[in-house]
């Protein structure tokens, strides 16, 4: 038979997360492929309907593992929109710091993650080591390294601990001085360039067809299509930052944008720490016990710019103590499912993990 069937995942070193790409290969060219998701399906949307508004705060970060704070943010934004709560000013700035730190950690992970598919494991080790320091900062702020449950409806759970600003700044300065090393190790590495330049293209038409967002979209269209700019939340309109863009999207471009965004995140956090006002950090959502909150009826969708693109929740409340329905838009849903089916064929099996990696696909947010 001409075709053979190969699997990329679920148990495969080239697969981040737990999903399976079924590839029909002829020679070494992928002829057909599709993603078999659902290995991480936990029925979040159902479980959330069974928990109170407050209980859900513990549940939602677990939807997306590398960058859980975006979940908390959109969930809080939805409740705030439904209940018409005004969030204290300081909380906005703290949220921004947290979100950008989370973006940094996710970008570091993804940027170092290129080490998996290309075999440059050193990048992976270095990046993970730096990411570890962000997690330590998170631990100090929120009490947990990965799942923070920190951004809650009405603000943030508690104020920043004293002196954390300096620690964050120290880390940022340190990271900023180290980033050029990453550039030398990864972006300017001739062997990495041999794999990534002019490889795994993502033209603008495909972006629009699939509905790809995030770095994929910005790298192809050349526009600042970033929710932080287009529909700002928190206080992104008040800080000064650039959105790196490009008009030719190959694997190298997307990696470069990721790298440049790290600088921007550092920039944003520094400004935020600088400009952050004092005051309260949490507004009351409703009276009485938090477990018996009732959120006014309504249907609202909120989205934030996660490291991989538009991350949104659609929340329906019928005025009860529990959400009536929550739908999650994973940022990598379009490229992960339709993209793999339509645009992975034609690539070589050597490039399949790289395709999966540089398209920014994260299986837990697809599966929910």
């Amino acid at each position: 038979m001409k075709e053979i069937k190969l699997f990329l995942g679920p148990q495969h070193p080239g697969m981040h997360g737990n999903a399976s790409v079924h590839m029909y290969v002829e020679g070494d060219i992928i002829k057909r492929s599709y993603l078999l998701p659902g290995m991480l399906h936990r029925g979040f949307e159902k479980s959330m309907e069974r928990r109170t508004w407050m209980n859900n705060i513990a549940l939602i970060p677990r939807i997306c593992v590398p960058e859980p704070d975006t979940n908390e943010m959109v969930y809080a934004m939805n409740i705030e929109a439904l209940a018409k709560i005004k969030v204290p000013e300081r909380a906005h700035w703290i949220r921004m710091i947290i979100l950008e730190l989370a973006r940094l950690s996710a970008h570091l992970m993804a940027f170092g993650g290129i080490g998996g598919p290309t075999g440059l494991y050193t990048a992976m080790y270095w990046a993970q080591a730096d990411r570890d320091r962000i997690l330590t900062i998170f631990e100090e702020i929120t009490g947990h390294r990965v799942y923070h449950m920190y951004i809650v409806a009405g603000g943030v759970r508690k104020d920043l601990p004293k002196g954390i600003e300096n620690k964050i700044l120290d880390f940022l300065n340190d990271l900023e001085s180290r980033l050029p090393e990453y550039e030398d190790l990864v972006l300017n590495n001739p062997t990495v360039r041999a794999r990534t330049v002019d490889n795994i293209l993502l033209p603008a038409e495909v972006v629009w067809e699939l509905g790809v967002t995030g770095i994929g979209m910005r790298s192809a269209t050349g526009q600042e299509y970033d929710i932080r700019k287009v529909a700002p939340y928190a206080r992104y309109e008040k800080v000064d930052f650039k959105v790196p863009t490009a008009t030719y999207s190959d694997a190298q471009t997307r990696m470069t944008l990721k790298y440049q965004e790290m600088y921007q995140s550092i920039n944003i956090i520094k400004q935020a720490i600088d400009m952050m006002p004092g005051g309260k950090v949490r507004a009351k959502v409703a009276d009485g016990s938090a477990l018996r909150w009732r959120v006014p009826a309504g249907q609202v969708y909120s989205a934030v710019e996660a490291s991989r693109g538009e991350y949104g929740y659609y929340t329906v409340s019928d005025g009860n103590t529990m959400p009536y329905r929550v739908a999650v838009r994973g940022a990598s849903f379009p490229q992960g499912l339709l993209g793999v089916e339509k645009y992975m064929p034609g690539h070589r099996i050597d490039d399949a993990p790289l395709w999966f990696d540089t398209m920014g696909i994260c299986s837990p947010e697809i599966d929910r």
Partner: protein, 301 residues
Amino acid sequence: MITGILTGFGILLFAFVWQTSLDGINRKIVGRFQKRIGPKWYQQFRDIFKALSKTGVTHGWVFDFGVMMALGGIMATVMFLPVVGYSAFPGMDNFFIFVYLLAVGMLGMAMSSVGSGNPLAGIGVMRALTQMVGYEVPFMIVILGIIFGHNTSSLSELAAIQQASGIMTWNLVKMPIGTVVAYISLLGMLGKKPFETFIAPAEIASGPMVEYGGKQLGMLMIMHEFATFIEVTLFVTLFLGGATTLFGFIAKYFVVYILASLISNALARFKIDQVIKFYYKVPITLAIVQALMVVFLGWGV
């Protein structure tokens, strides 16, 4: 004859102990490179013996037979190697024996892994063989120059010729282009990045090794240590003048191997056709230039 075979056993034992320890040290050095502490220096021994002690699976007789052929072929090759002046069969350490006897081991491993029925193993073997076409031809052309220049293909004689007057008679100095080419080929032989295509865990989940576990894996690990020993020793003997003392040998070997490993850890992996293109552009041209220089101009003889 019997003494020869016993010497061969001695070389085998030395090769195993030294290369396996060095692999452990190498893992430690790589760990430092990656900002870690790394394992103990004898970790590689533990891994090998652990693998041997496990109950693996077998996919039929060729799966086992190939492994034995691989290890047997490689051990036979090691027994021919001249190390620090010791040679099991003086005069018989012909360069071509190493190239082709090494191939027995490779063939055995390829056969066994494809015998597992896993397509990834097939792809891995395909890549390994394709890569072999890439690195072997420039390497052989350089060796042609050396053999032609010194008029002998015996490794111990080649080493002796180079030891004549210190570092200046090393082929490293006399044929620098060839040395560079051979070192690039050595990276390919050792399967170091960027020429790691046939292992490529992220792409084909470790290629030929995909189905091995238990004693078969342990034996292949031993085989890998021996193969590394042969390849690095060949380089040391052919270009760095071999060694007259154990310490000299170990020092040269260490430098060659650790340098390869460090290069490997700062680079990503090529795709297989990029490997071929790479080898057939620069190294093969340089190799031919070097060989022509030796053959027609008499430089470096």
